[in-house]
Amino acid sequence: MGEVINPFILYAGVVLGGLGVLLALPRKRISPQVIGGLLGALGVGVLLIGLGLKASPEKQLPNVYFYVFAAVALGGCLRVITHPRPVYAALYFILTILASAGMYLILAAEFMAFALIIIYAGAILITYIFVIMLATQAPAEDEEEAAAPEYDQVSREPALAAVCGFVLLAALSTMVVRGVRGIEVNRGQAAFQSQEAMERVPRRLERALHRAKAISADEAVYLTPDGLPVIDMHTGTVVVARPDPTGVRGAFAEASRRSVAIPSSFDARNVESLAFDFLNRHPGAIELAGVILLMAMLGAVVLSRRQVELDEEAKANQSRRLSAEGEA
């Protein structure tokens, strides 16, 4: 099993990246953030290109857009953890999310890409920004930089954190790149799951067969009594048959059964497969997610009630203090 990347390049990339992050983290004095960012980008670039070096010329290289999205996503991440103003950090995180959605697109996960944008960038991050605005005083016009609180401007123990994080990265990426060659695609399983999804759409399969003229007009996809088509993933065929001449609805003339090849234009679409996987395989988990959301809503309500109480208490204390002062 060959290496996916030269270990030297791997560690060089990690070290460069670590140095970059270390430099980029904000400090009390002026910190060389730009240099750090560049160094970090260089490190990641070394990593990714190092991976590419070992690839066979054509097939194995990822889509060019990948590099763009990866750069934007990781750049966004770096800014999230280095930008002294939390609002910007949140905005940069939206950038990261958008770039991630782009990567999802490359990975043929269209639904997830858009769901990510809608849920994450559209809902969660906006909440963040609201809360940040709520919890931060607006800076006065003339002293924009100074208004940012000290705890935002200076990062805590940057050296320790960077070393720790990038040792972690070194370990993780070593294992990942060592492992990728060893992972085997369980084709049978993939085929089985795909087959399951296709079984759910016999009518669409029938239309595709008609369109490809693979079957005559009066033939239909044969359905078992359970209402499922008979698909053989090995040979890529499906059983078709003529309807029962006696006219019983849904019955087939058994003698007319034959297998035909599935046209290459047909596929259970990604969203369909995902929906099938999501709803059919994880119905319990969906309910569970619902319970979690309900619980989270309750939690937020309880916590904000507590805020109301705090405010009331503060007011009561103040009035008590005032009255005490008045008596004195």
């Binding site: 070593t174 992972i183 087959q195 053989d232 993933m233 090995h234 988990a285 989270a296 309750l298 939690g299």
Partner: protein, 565 residues
Amino acid sequence: MIERLSLLYPEIVLFLGACLVMVIGLSPKREVRSLCGFASAGSLLIAGLLAINTSAGNTTPLPGLLPYVKAILAGVGLLLVLLLSGVVDRRDEEEIAAGRRAFSAMRSNRAEFHAFFLFSLMGAMLCATADDLIWLFLALELTSLPTYVMVAVSTRGTRAQEAGVKYFFLGALGAGIFLYGFALLYGGTGSTNLAQIARELARQGAAGDINPIAMAGLMLAVVGVSFKIAAVPMHFYTPDVYQGAAAPVSAMLAFVPKTAGFVTILTLVSCAGWSYGFVDGRDVYGAGFALPAELRIALWVIAALTMTVGNVMAVLQTSIKRMLGYSSVAHSGYMLVGVLAGAAAGEESGYSFAQSGVAAVLFYLLVYGVGNLGAFAVLASMERRNPDGELVEADEFGDVRGLCRSSPLAGWTMVLSALSLLGLPPLLGFFGKFGLFSAGIAAGDYALVVILGLNSAIAAFYYLRLVAVSLLDEPQGSTYAPTTILARPLAGAVSALGVIVLIAFAEPLMQAATKAGRVAPMTLGVSPEGVRRAQTTELPEPGTGDRGAPSGAPAPEGEHDGAGH
């Protein structure tokens, strides 16, 4: 799904109970509101009864876990409901009762508090039901998310909020870690189904080494989940949170998330096999039935460090809650010895409680839950008013001085709980420790057993101090008075009684734990032949016949069977 639904009855009952409690809590009538606790207890009781009658699952690596874990969760949960009464809204209710204020649904948190508790228990139960990583992830989150809020609102002081923020943020970090681990585990094995992960890991192990990605995933998952059980290196939050939260909530933290965490760790580790699967020195399951060396060494180190750090740090404490927090860390370390020692194999005979580490862990969870609850209940039932008029619980060692004389019930509860936690024969704790020791010895891990023994000796320092302070010292100048909420000392008394009475039922409980800790045969078939045998015989195999699906097809849920034939 319908078949699995029957396994979920306890959780469903808890969910319905939570909904009921939330509605009840909004009632303007005081009497109706006070039914919250009863409604929670009732749903727990029903859930417990259902759990006992639940048949074991058949799709998880540890199928027997399900009824046992749910039953002990419901049982200890019942005590916790008693203990949790009056944690929130007490002052409001007093003022409403005194007519100083009208009831406002906007201010009442009691119903939600009980609902959170039920949600958390439900999550822990779901961990035992989990046969899928996604499910496991959601169940873990459902277990811990409510506890974050419970900690933050448990008292009015800033300490609870500090505890809440530490717990929540570090918990989120832990969640990120184990989620990443789950992702890598999925990538390394190609499935989120636990049974299939187990099979794939076994195949990889038999073929040579487990894929590094899967290995990294496993490690990240185990380390991340060890946040829930407060094991090193994820233990840092424990003392602060236990100290900052109200004692009843701390008692709950020491049991519910810990149980969920151990169930998860056991499940994950059972997917990777156990190293000591030797019968009479023969490796009957083939070399594959071994906990991977990386996992074993890491767990070994974690166990040793967890015990030692927890015990050592507990020695210095002056706050009892904090000390109990550290001791909670130490107890997790003890239990990890059982995790390392491994499971009783699937055969019906030839394995006993004394040899099964998993059974020892499961039994110890109950033992620890009961004993720990008693100690916290004593703290919760001693209180005084601080200058602000808030009720503050006892916490320092001085607060329980001479408790046996000033308030014998609480005092003896404390003494019994502490002695049981210490593992003094013949109290219940001894039987728990006995299981762990014997499992460790049976597994041949003598070094760890020695460390366990030394740590038990260190534990005597602080537990006996607790006993001595409350039993031997003269009561002096304590401003603490017994609480007006009778349910709390009652919970303590029941748990203290449990420490004694359960000795008599130790045998059936150990048997139940042994049954629960049995690894499903499918994870045992590890040699290539074994894998094949497991695939052809043990699992319902959809699409093997007419569809000609290739080998290794998954069988995540039963209904595909029905659909396929």
